[in-house]
Every structure is written in C-alpha cells, then in structure tokens.
Amino acid sequence: MDEDSPIRSSAQAEAGVTPAFRLIPFTPPLTIDPHWALVEEGFSLAREHEIESICTVANGYVGTRGSLAEGTSLSSPATFLAGVFEAGDEPAASLALVALPDWTQFRVVVDRVPLSLETGDILEHRRILDLQHGLLYRTWRHRDRTGRVTYLQFVRMVSLHDRHLLLQSIMISPENYGGVLAIESSTEVQDERMPRIQWLPKLEGERAVIVGTTTRGVTMAMVDHSEVRSEEGRSVERVSEVQADGLIERWACSAHTSEVFRFTRLVAVYSSRDTKDPAGAASEHLRRAQEAGLDVHIEDHARAWEERWRATGLEVIGDETAQRALRVAAYHLISAVNPNDEYSSIGARGLTGPVYKGHVFWDTEIYLLPFYTFTDPPAARALLMYRFHTLPAAREKARRLGYRGALYAWESADTGEDVTPDSAVAPDGRVVQILTGTQEHHISADIAYAVWQYWQATADEDFFVAAGLDILIETARFWATRGRLEPDGRYHIRAVIGPDEYHETVDDNAYTNVMAQWNLERAADAMEWLRINRADAWRAISDRLHIKPDEPTSWRRLAEVMTTGFDPRSNLFEQFAGFFQLEDLDLEAYRARTLPIDIVLGHERTQKSKVIKQADVVALSALLWDRFPYVVHEANFRYYEPRTAHGSSLSPAFHALVAARLGDIRLAAQYFQQAAEVDLATHMGNAAGGMHMATLGGLWQAAVFGIAGIRLRDDGLVIDPHLPLTWKQWSFGLQWRGRKVTIALSREPGSVIVDLQTGGPMTIELGEGAEKTVTQMEPRCRYIAHWTGSRWDEWQVKLQL
C-alpha cells in the first residue's frame, strides 16, 4: 500500500454510491467492480441448490435464496423470516424456521411455452452477486425451439436500509420477434417440505396481501405490488387470480421486435413480532415505498451496504481468492444480522437455507459474534440480548437437569428451549441417541465468553449492567453446581461432550473445564467491578439475582481447583481424562478419504482413538491466547493438530487462526483455504442447504485474529502480523470502544499502517515478545511502523487524517 494514499477500501467507500447504481435496474451490470462480484457463468443444474444459497440476498430480518425466478427441476426457492418458527409435520420434527411464500416467481411464456433454461438454447446466462451493494443480478439470452431470441435482465434485493422491503425488477425484450408475450408472476409456497402454514391470499386493489399464522401464534403478512410497463410508457393490463395458498398475476404484452418491457415488484413484510397488525403495517409500508420510487430504494440500500463495508474493509492484495472468500464471508455475515431485533439470533445456516432449521448453536457466540463485536457492535449487542431474553429457558434447563444457574440450549429456536432431538436415524437405519442436548454444556461458558469479549471491546456498560452480568452470573452459577469437589481436592466436571463430539460422556474435557474456570473467574471479576464502580447497580443485581455475599468468592475458589488436565512438564492439556491412553492413529493414512473419519473407523473405534473431530484444546488457544504462554500454545497445537480430522466445518478456520498466531504461515494458509472452500468449492455441494455461517465467521477471525494477530488489551489492541506468502497487503476495519480503526499490513517490505479515525486515544501493541512495541495513538492520525528484519521500528506519525 502506498503510505501516502488513503487506504483504498475506505477511499472507495468515501466516494459514496457509485453513480451507475442510480440507473439500476435499467442498465446492464457492467460497472460492477469485479473484485466485489461473485460471478456464476452458464447453467449447471446439479449446482443450483448451492448457487441459490451463495446468492442469497438478506438483511437479518428476511432472507431470500438466489433461486432462478422461473424455476428449474432443481430449484428450492425460499424466503425465511428471522425468529419465526413452526413445528414440522412429522411427529418427531422439531421447530424449523418458517419459509414465506416465494415472492420471486416470474416467467415469460412465448407461444404457450414458458422460457426455461432446461429447454431451447442458452445463448448467454450469468448471475452476478454484487457483494459491495447487496444486489443479485442475472442476464439471460435465450433461443427457444422455434428460433425466437428473448433477452432478460434481472435484479433483486432485500433492503438493508429498510428491512421490511423487498424488490425485484426484470427487463424483458423479444430480440428477433414480435407477438404476444405472456408474463406471469406469482407468490406461492414452493417447498412442501418446509413447515406448513395456512396462507390466506387476497387482493386489495392492485395489491396482493398474503397472511399466515403459525401454531405458535405469530402472524406474518406480505403485501406485494407488481406491474409491467413497456419502455415506451405503455402500461399493460393485469389479470390477478387468487389461489389456495398464493396468487398469480398475468400480463399479456403485445410486443414488437426489440421492444423492452419492465416488470417490477415491491413487497413489504411484517410479522406480529413487529406490530399488532402486520397486514396493515405492510400495506402502509408498501404504499409509502411506492411513492418514493424504485431508484430511491436501490440507492438507499446500496448506501447502507457501503456503510457496512466502510466499517469492515477487507482487502487482500496479492491473493484474489482469499479476498473473495473473505468478502463473501462478510457479505453473508452482514446479511444475517438485524441489530434491531433482540429476540432472534443467527442459525447455523443463517437465512440462506433450510438445513439446521434455523437452530442456533454455540457457533453464533464463538464463531460469528467477534465479527459483529468488532465491526457492528449494535448487531453484536442484539445477538447477546437474544441470550439474555432466553435466560429463563436456560435456567429451566439447568433446573431440570439438577443444577443452578443457566444452562443454555444446545439447539435454540425462538424461546431458548432446547430443541435438540433425543434420537435420530443414522444412514444405515440404526436409531442413535443424540447426547449433545444433555451433555454438550460448554455453550454456557461460550456465551459468557462472548458477553465478556463484547464488553471489553465496546465498553458498553449499559448492556453489561442491564443484561451481560445476568448471563455471566447465571452461567457461573451453573458451573458452580455442574461439577463436584472430589476427594483429590480438585473440582471435576464429569460426563460431558466437548467441541470434539467424537468422544461422548467424557470427564474433565479441557475445553469445557478451562472455559468454565474462566467463566467463574470473570463472573467474580464482574461482581467486584460492579461493587467498586456501580454500587447502586451492584445492590440491585445482588437483590434481583439473590447473590449471597460469599458467592463470588466461592466461584474463585472453584476456579482455582478446577481440573484442567494441564501437565506443566509437557505443557499439554489432556483433552479429557484418559485421552492420552487412547489408541493413536496416523490420520495421514486416511488422507485420501472423502468421508468423516468416524464413518470410516466406526463409532466405537473412534471413541477409543485419539482422533478428534474439531478444534477442542486448539480452540482454547484461539479464545484464550493471553491466558497461557506461547510454549503452551505451540505444544498443544503440534500435538493436537495432526490428530484432528476436521469432521466439522468449524475446525479449519480455527486451525488457520492458531497456526497464524504461531507463525506457521504455510499451515495457516492451507487451513484458510480449506475453510474458504467449505462453501465455495464447486465439487462438494456443501452449501446446498445453506451457507456455513460459523465457517464464514471463523474465516474472518482467521484473517483478523490470526493473520493480523489482533487481540484485545485492557487499553487497546494488539497487532501481531503473520501474512501468508501470497498476501502482499491485507487491510481491514475494526471498532474498539467507539474508535474506528483501519489497519493495513504489508508483507514486503513489512509495515503496519494504523489509521485511528474517530474517538479518543488508544493503545496499540505491535508484535510479540521482546520485539513488541507499545504506543498510545491519537485520533485522526495515521501511524506507520516498519519491520527492520529483526524487530518493529518506532511508530511514525505521518499525517492528520
């Protein structure tokens, strides 16, 4: 990066909305920055489901898969409404995210034959996901069996500026023929395997209103207005037909050769989670949206996206693939969250697909939340508030299992009750017990960790006092009763599952116990901080939660005698009691496999071997780096990494993170690539049921916390860069306690540029060990440090921003 030029990503964003976007959807999408575009050329039926997931447009309130509007024999269009769940039809089916009627359906019928990618000749077909502006484009030139060529251009968006508003615009032009073009649009439930809702459609003038209510009492309303106009200004008459669970609108366009018709559809969505009268609110919202006009909505939406990117940055010079993977990851992370909703969280596949039914796991706090904490604190706060609001269910689960405090659901939906099933049918037909719901308890510490990290990064005292403390205290209380002080004088937590789910019902899982220990300590710290700094709040919370005066002390005592499995001679944590006695298998011998290792080895042998599903002890290095010295991280990573089979998509990103912090840039790059390929590789189909949100969050952490080596200090941030060989420059944006910081790292020659854009002064620590430098930086200044070959040079202040 040129030291005297502003950081490019910021400068681009400062320029505001690219003028070309004012014209959308009426110009071809030629002005999209290719570095910000995900392009799918041609048509491959087999890949449709994964492309639909990747091309989802969403805003955290509502998300629509990137399905082809006219459908194919392998299309699964779905629009999900965050936080609205319904039970499936099968008796054992647990709650699943509701799919709204598909509002994107559209087809052109020429001479009674619908245009389809599966018939006739595709002369041109391209989908472009504009990551920068959250717009999905499509161009399609098609020749039917009789030689008629039709050109179509599509654009759709789910507004980030106005989360209730959805928009679709399509241009249709008969290139070499004239006659009657029949245009049909419909809004119907497409996938019968989604939870069934009784939808009631009706017409209100030119608007279509569809209302449905779940058995849990949530009413949803979609109001749609569609129209077709010729470019010459002629409006085309519409015929609307109400059907059982949707409606169809038809236009017959008398077209001459090359005439252009435009179909536009605006949809407003509300639910009774937002307002008492969702249909009325949606109608009124749509009326106002129509008045404002299409261009305004697109411009506002594009500007909202640029605003988010301004805070996030993400530019990798020298490795286009890594840059694209990071931008795709951030695109979906931004799309998945709604900072205005404290009562829903992000499911394992976000709003991009039906798999995992919208259920929320520990993934959200450990893998996703850091992205929001450091780039969009209000979003992080909303996600943590979901855990605050679901505390009653977590308390009830703890009580049911015989403990105090709060044990969060392993799989959570709307109320926080655990929706993990008790059993499932394995691929070989066996019914297997599912133990995660009753044994995988580390989630309570994971949520406490996220609360603390958010507080440390944002200093959001209002949240901490009003909600975060409750979570910290109640989870600490759980840990204080979950284990037992045993005759050896140590506190043991028995019969759990750690992140390595290959080993069930184990004692003293290192990850669980160290995180529990940390949770107990932080809860005690928090009470101490509150007593000293906010005595009024301390008294109120003590009363409200019935905290006994000696309770924090007892937490500290238990933390001190917690069994962690750490051996100071070897610097190794034993993953759980007895792990070191298990069979050692050489995973290299199984490298060529396409299957998870537990399928290859079988359940029993896997349980008896040292083969690990995912980062477990290694995850401690990712989360608690400053708690242990470097040698401990090094020893454990070198021991556990070769024994990890990465049977979970969560695993590669955390391995990339820790490998980078250890300075093993070759291995870090390899794991980074593996994580990037989870959803983007074209030959695995992983994304078919939705994007792997945790992997995407992990990828961002690998790049920011691993490769850039960002860590929190009490008074600022640590930067400890370890750039892969192909990354010439790496820049990104962060927020820390109200300050906006842009950090740019260069590989050759090694340099770090920090732009402290807003807020007060903060400390930046650069490097590790003896070479590190610690500097207090002033706002609106650029600081530059160079690597001399053996250490970081003194910071230079180059200019006032």
């Binding site: 798999v355 496999r593 992983n686």
Partner: protein, 299 residues
C-alpha cells in the same frame, strides 16, 4: 464459481423411444456358449421394447444356413425369432457398424468368451467395441445360462457426479418401461480420493451435527438424482460406506439385493488405470450390466 463443462450422453437415451431409432437390439455371437447366454437377456429386452433382435456373427467364412444353429449353439426357436447378419471384417468394427446401420437401441453381449483370457474383465472384442459404441451396451456375465430374463429391479450406482447422473434419465425411462424399481446406490469409499468434477455431491466431508447433516444430504442427493432423471422417477436411495474398492462394494450390494440389471455411466476411457470400478463390476457382477457411454468429460 465457474462454468460447468458440458456433458452429453454419447448416444440417445436407451429406452427413451426416440423417433429416429429403429427398435433393434444387436447381439454378437461367436459360437461360444458364453456368447449365447446374452440371448435370453436380449429376448427379455426385445419383449419389453417390442424390438427386433439382430444376431451378428463375424467369421472368415460364411456359415451355411443349415449350420447356423450348431455353430452358434442356438435352438431353432431362438433362430426363428431373430434376424441373422453375417458381416465381414474386424469383429468389433463390424458390430459397431451394424449397430450404427440399424440404429440399435442396445448391444447385448458377453464381455468375453472362453477363447481368450479377459483383461480387466473384458475380452478383446468387447474392449474394442466399448469406446466406439453408438448405443448402450449390456454385458451379460458368463455362466448365467439360458434362464429367461426380465427386468423388475435396476441397480443404479451413482457416484454423485453430473457425468454419472447422465445415466439416471435413460435408466429411469428404461425402468418405467418395465415397471421396474430403481435403487440408486451411492458408495462412499474410504479409499477414494475426492472427485473434482463441478456439481459433484459426495457424502459430506463435514458432519457438524449428524442428525441435521445426514437427512439433508440424503434429501439433496435424491433431489439431484430426480432432477437429472426427469420426468421424476421414484427412487430408493441406499448409501453404502465401504473400506474396499467401490466396484467390490457395488457387487457385494448387488449380490445381497439381486437386481436384474446394474446400470453404469461410463466416461469412455479404458486406459489401464481408468474405469477401475466398471472393470471390477463387470468381472464380478451377478447380473447383466448396462454401460451407458458419456462423452464430454475427462475421467
């Protein structure tokens, strides 16, 4: 994201009743007992498709009519229900030529006879016909005898690649004609490296929460199979995990479930280290094997 290379079936979908095809089934006979064992299978198929069987025999000298039955080990009844052709030249070329000339729906033959030692399950003639065939080939395992054959159950191994999916539609049509059931078999082997072909949908490498992942994978696998096999046939899906080769696992499954036909898509490559699964199946299959040639994709 990228463009998916085009994959096209080498020939018309067998059983799809394309208008330009005459309804003939080519059966090469060389006078061996193994070769004539293909005939009951051809007869079963001829009945199914109302097709005419063309028996092809290539020999240095023309067989007098009165010697045909003895030479080819046919009964009079068998001979009377077929058209008998005696082209000349290289056997493989002549068979391919005849199949092209008569726009045959299928070639039904023995993979090898007792005259020579088979290489990788194939005799030299089958080996030469395979890459050049204009239509699917059904290879009838030696030793099945003259038992009548009918089609009730098709086993369709599917490695989840778009190439292999090409066979789904014609096989589904084939099965629909016969009102036969189709079992789609996906074999995931420990010993097999990942396939790089875009659009492939192998058993999931990542199994974050198996009770969510497995049903989703099975559903997606079937959705893709049905979409490729349009109009949607009903499939039963079996997933087999094995530690041996995929071919061996398919044969083992076939031995347990007794299908009447195993249908395979094949990428037209018989180089020594290619088509190992197909070779293994041909060598050990307990039933006839239909090979559906697919062009346009590197193996």
């Amino acid at each position: 994201m990228g463009q998916h290379p085009s994959v096209k079936p080498e020939s018309h979908p067998s059983g799809g009743a394309p208008a330009e095809r005459s309804s003939t089934i080519m059966v090469p006979l060389d006078g061996s007992a193994q070769a004539v064992e293909a005939l009951p299978v051809a007869q079963g198929l001829a009945k199914l498709f109302a097709a005419t069987i063309h028996v092809v025999h290539i020999a240095p000298r023309r067989i007098p009519n009165e010697e045909i039955c003895d030479t080819l080990k046919l009964t009079q009844a068998q001979l009377s229900s077929v058209i008998f052709n005696q082209p000349t030249g290289s056997p493989a070329s002549a068979i391919v030529h005849e199949a092209k000339q008569w726009k045959s729906r299928l070639i039904v033959m023995c993979p090898h006879t007792g005259e020579e030692k088979p290489v990788g399950g194939f005799g030299s003639i089958a080996q030469e016909i395979l890459p050049n065939t204009p239509c699917p080939i059904i290879l009838v395992p030696p030793g099945r005898g003259q038992r009548p054959w009918s089609l009730r159950h098709v086993l369709l191994p599917h490695d989840s690649t778009p190439t292999s999916a090409i066979a789904i539609s014609p096989v589904a049509d084939f099965a629909r004609h016969a009102r036969a059931g189709v079992t789609v078999l996906h074999v995931a082997s420990v010993a097999t490296a990942p396939v790089e072909e875009p659009g492939t949908f192998p058993a999931p490498r990542y199994m974050d929460q198996p009770h969510h992942e497995w049903p989703a994978w099975e559903r997606e696998f079937l959705d893709r199979a049905r979409a490729m096999g349009k109009p949607s046939p009903e499939f039963t899906l079996h997933t087999v995990f094995c530690t041996e080769g995929i071919g061996e696992a398919i044969v083992r499954f076939a031995s347990q479930h007794e299908p009447d036909l195993i249908a395979l898509a094949w990428r037209l490559n018989l180089e020594p280290q290619r088509a190992l699964t197909m070779r293994s199946i041909i060598r050990h299959a307990p039933c006839p094997v239909m090979i559906y040639p697919v062009r346009g994709m590197n193996a």
